[in-house]
Amino acid sequence: MNSSRKDKHSNKNIDRSTIVGLGLAVMGVLFSEFSYFFIKSIPLTAVGLSSLILGIVITMIPGNSIPTSYVRSFIKESYVNVEEILEQFDAKERCIFLPPRDRRIFVYVPIIPNQNCTNSVAWKAMEAPIHVLTEVDGKPGLMVFLPIPYEILSKVDQGSMPEEALNHILVEQLEILESIKAIESTNKIAIKMSGSRVEVEFPRTKKVLGSLPTCIAGSILSYILKKPIILLKEESSGRDIIASFEMLNKNG
């Protein structure tokens, strides 16, 4: 029974667009050869060659891809849970973005108001038990799981340059932004995100995690830098966002 399920799954990988592309490519090769060697017609040969190019292009393009607008909607609506959790615990402090653990992406949110999160607290949070309500340095806090798939972060290498990683995920893969620029200084990174295409209208989430692009950017930075990252400031102007983050070093 398990092997028949596997066969069904593997057949789905050869989807319709691949079959159409291959068919078009094969037809193009045969038609162009026939036109060139037998009919001796250059225009018909060109038609065959253009069919070949189109066929290969169709094969290369992912079939049945979910429209990006749907993906953006999924991400946007999945923040409802985050908003509810933050409301429930009356969390108001800025979160600390932590490197993923066990392929799970989460942030640490202190619950106690005006709690000064030092670097050592942030690094201890990296080792704290992964529960929604956890404890770091004897103080309660929240581990909020972000609705960001680990597969998206893993598209960039740990240790890659921040601007390159942010551009690859936010601009090229998710298409949430039109462009992004990052400037690094000693322990800080300032990011300018232009042309944001999605926004989450949850006030608590925005206050604690930042806007949606900022939140994803924070997760990416903590993943590639393998350090806790805290959002210092965020300013929005229309569809442009400027956010500054601080890297919390272990001995800081």
């Binding site: 225009p43 060109a46 060659l49 253009s50 190019i53 290969i56 290369m60 393009i61 891809s65």
Partner: protein
């Protein structure tokens, strides 16, 4: 409509238009057809920037072909 589908349709339409125009002008040189197809492919691909499953084999192949066509034309001119 999906961006990928618009890309494929645009590419197909571009090739169709190019073929028709060249036939109207009685063009019989295959390298002219191929050069225009290559330029059309890169223009449309840059415009739409579609996602691909693999490395751009078509782009690499067409680039090599274009370089070969240019090399032949230059050699013909010199010799």
């Amino acid at each position: 409509m999906d961006k990928q589908k618009i890309y494929v349709i645009s590419l197909g339409f571009t090739y169709l238009v190019m073929n028709i125009i060249l036939v109207i002008f009685n063009e019989n040189r295959l390298n002219v057809y191929m050069s225009l197809f290559i330029i059309g492919y890169f223009s449309i691909t840059i415009l739409f920037n579609p996602r691909k499953n693999y490395i751009d084999i078509v782009g690499i192949g067409l680039f090599i072909l274009f370089s070969y066509i240019i090399m032949i034309i230059v050699l013909d001119y010199w010799l």
